[in-house]
């Protein structure tokens, strides 16, 4: 059983849960178990060919799985899987209709 840390932008898909426990022998299985429990997370995490989306970083404990074995990285009992998409917020209001680089 691993603990999956859910980023704020995915918590709508987990009913507000910031941490979800999920079973699996590797990172792929754990994330698919997460998607079984909370189906809304599936399309955010995986592309149509079942690979991890490029804009989602996944860490096993503190290590990026890209430098380990990706979705095949073995998960041990008690490990933490961190799901982390990039965030851009700098604390200014969103200004619809004003596309393009806006420093704030």
């Amino acid at each position: 059983m691993a603990t999956v840390k859910i980023p704020p932008v995915l918590r709508a898909q987990t009913g507000g849960e910031a941490e979800v426990t999920a079973d699996g022998v590797d990172v792929g299985e754990v994330l698919r178990a997460l998607a079984d429990i909370h189906p809304g997370t599936s399309e955010q995490l995986f592309s149509q060919d079942g690979e991890l989306n490029r804009y989602v970083n996944v860490y096993l404990n503190d290590e990026d799985v890209r430098v380990l074995d990706g979705l095949d990285t073995a998960v041990a009992e008690g490990d933490t899987v961190v799901v982390l998409p990039a965030m851009a917020g700098g604390g200014s209001p969103w200004r619809p209709g004003r596309p393009g680089p806006v420093a704030a």
Binding site: P8, V9, D62, S92, W94, R95
Partner: protein, 393 residues
Amino acid sequence: MATIEPIELIRSRIEEVDPADAREEIGDGVALVDTREQHEYDEAHLEGGTLVPPAELADRIAEVVPDRSQRVVLYCRSGDRSARAADLMESELGYEDVASMAGGIVAWQDAGYPVVAAQGMTKDQRMRYSRHTLLPEVGVEGQLKLLNAKVLLVGAGGLGSPAALYLAAAGIGTLGLVDDDEVDASNLQRQVIHATDRVGMPKTESAKLTIEHLNPDVDVVEHRTRLDADNILDIIEGYDMIVDGADNFPTRYLLNDASVRTRKPVVSASILAFDGQISTFVPYEGPCYRCLYPTPPPPELAPSCGAAGVLGVMAGVMGLLQANEVIKLAAGIGEPLIGRLLLYDSLGTRFTELKVKRDPECPICGPDAPEIPESEMGRFPDYDAFCAGAAVG
């Protein structure tokens, strides 16, 4: 109570080196220790000299020189206090190879050798920054580095406001502010550099007013514009490092690519709701923003603070962590967040640290990244299209 021995007796049993010989060996694995008082050290000291006042010698010398077999050269004003300190270190503290510089810093300066003087630091500045200069890690040298540092803040918003306030208080000599927005009442819950009576005022102007009120030492440069591919190189050129508090992905990628090309460190943070993340990107020393995030997320995974809300205090925490990184980089102290991504969960009050490695396939800083000829330095991809493309792809 021990009687104080005559200085001649002490001199006869310790090693003394004259300034010329000391100068020869300093820097060559020799620990150089200044055995005067803080205010003397602040006025002028030898480069690389660490202050350990006489009264603190027994307690502090082991932290400055942990290896008792290391060669140590001590100096003071005229050579007396350092002679006594050398004697104490050898006779009671177990040091094996200690010398005192004869004639002290006075003889050193008489010989025409350079010192680190509190140049550019007025009496007022010595008072203002005394709690910095008292820190051995910062000292006058570190404060002078801060006073000479030029830091660009991209965004005078939730992150830039607290960062700019504390960087100004710390005496960062030049603070550039990039923002084309105006102060809105909804900003004031977190953008603490602005004020209620400045709603409607350009943010750069409002920030400049606050900073000048706080610390007249700081030269504030307003860049009342948006960063884009056409102006970014001109804007960042005059700065040593950049604080990224941008609210959108195109600016973050553009800033990354421009800063890697010009080899300028970027202290990058982002905030949303109750969570923040921060890392320090030093080109070619550690990963860049694209190593961490090769492509931007789609819009549904990238809501803005305006859409999702943000805890003002959390923005302050993250902005101050950015300021902390800037101070360390500028003073050359501590351990910056290079290759580390720090997450802050303000609801749980938990910090999580993740490792970030350089991506061997990074199109910007990887080994196979194309060389950019001088004529192409200012040409960047269309970032709106890049980010919009990623959003639908």
